[in-house]
């Protein structure tokens, strides 16, 4: 069900990520201002974009679950948010490393872009504990979906409010400026963004396939065993039924 096209996606991910890194280190010129350090840009920015889009995708799937009641959408929403959280951790760590090398600080609390991303990350860090705290499966799925829809709507609002803030920032703003990236840098960035997107979709598919297999196995086990002690599902943040 979820595993269709996984092999092709896996091969595509490996090719694209390898190609993107090759472009980063052997094709894209060094930045005139930051030099070799700017290479982090091709990793950090695609990670941030894909993780934020993943959070929004989680909200969209949650809305579809609320409309249709289809548990597969709940599972998709859960996995989208789960994988986005992992990419968000990578975004925060790579950003901190870049900040340390560039500004001399691991973190700047008066920098709206950084703090806004941290708020989004912490908001979604509550998603799994929220799911885990609710034992009833239906309520868990419904409450988590409402959370994902509200938080998913918050992500673009948060992004735009920082973007349009009339304030001088230390954090560079490259996207949206016509002359910000010369041709080879733009090409490298776009390939990196595509690679990260395909990697994200592939990892989501892996997770979905794994979760789906576990759920179906548990259902099969309960049906075969027919024992009451096996009917009770262990408490989990992840969806346990389809």
């Amino acid at each position: 069900m979820f595993g269709r096209g996984l092999r092709l996606l896996s091969i595509l991910s490996v090719v694209l990520v390898t190609g993107a890194f090759a472009l980063v280190f052997f094709y894209a010129p060094n930045d005139a201002d930051q030099g070799f350090l700017q290479k982090i840009f091709y990793l950090h920015v695609p990670l941030a974009i894909v993780s934020l889009c993943g959070f929004v995708a989680g909200g969209v799937y949650a809305a579809r679950f609320l409309r249709s009641g289809d548990r597969a959408h709940d599972l998709r929403s859960y996995v989208a948010i789960h994988m986005s959280l992992i990419l968000a951790v990578a975004t925060l760590v790579t950003g901190s490393i870049w900040a340390r090398a560039s500004w001399g600080h691991w973190w700047l609390w008066d920098e709206p872009t950084l703090v806004a991303f941290l708020i989004v990350f912490l908001l979604y860090a509550c998603y799994q504990p929220l799911r885990f705290s609710i034992e009833d499966r239906d309520r868990q799925a419904r409450y988590a979906a409402v959370f994902a829809v509200v938080a998913g709507a918050f992500v673009p609002i948060n992004f735009l409010s920082v973007r349009f803030a009339q304030r001088a920032t230390t954090h560079p703003r490259v996207l949206g400026q016509s002359d910000a990236l010369p041709g080879p840098m733009l090409l490298t960035f776009l390939v990196s963004l595509l690679a990260m997107t395909v990697l994200y979709v592939t990892l989501c598919k892996y997770e979905l396939t794994s979760k789906h297999a576990s759920i179906r196995l548990a259902q099969l086990r309960r049906r075969l065993a027919g024992d009451d002690d096996l009917l009770a599902l262990p408490r989990s943040a992840a969806p346990q039924e389809l």
Binding site: F21, F25, N30, Q34, G35, F36, L37, K39, I40, L43, H44, L47, I86, V89, A90, V93, T94, I97, W98, R100, A101, L203, Y206, S210, A213, S214, L217, A218, L220, R221, L224, A225
Partner: protein, 66 residues
């Protein structure tokens, strides 16, 4: 191959890319653990169905002999 102009920033760039690589490797390790668990469950199911089939055969034989 031309040497990369690493300078002082080389370790930072390497660290950022290694963090990404480490996260991917950790994820692969977690997926491997999940795969092992699924395999164990499949083995359990296999044993359960074999036991059921054995019980059914024994019952049929008992009914046949009676």
């Amino acid at each position: 191959m031309a040497q990369l102009p690493l300078g002082d920033s080389g370790p930072y760039v390497a660290a950022a890319y290694l963090v990404f690589l480490a996260l991917i490797l950790i994820y692969v390790a977690i997926m491997a653990a999940k795969l092992v668990r699924i395999e164990r469950q499949v083995t359990e199911l296999d044993e359960l169905t074999a036991r059921r089939a054995e019980e059914r055969r024994a019952e049929r034989e008992k009914v046949g002999s009676a």
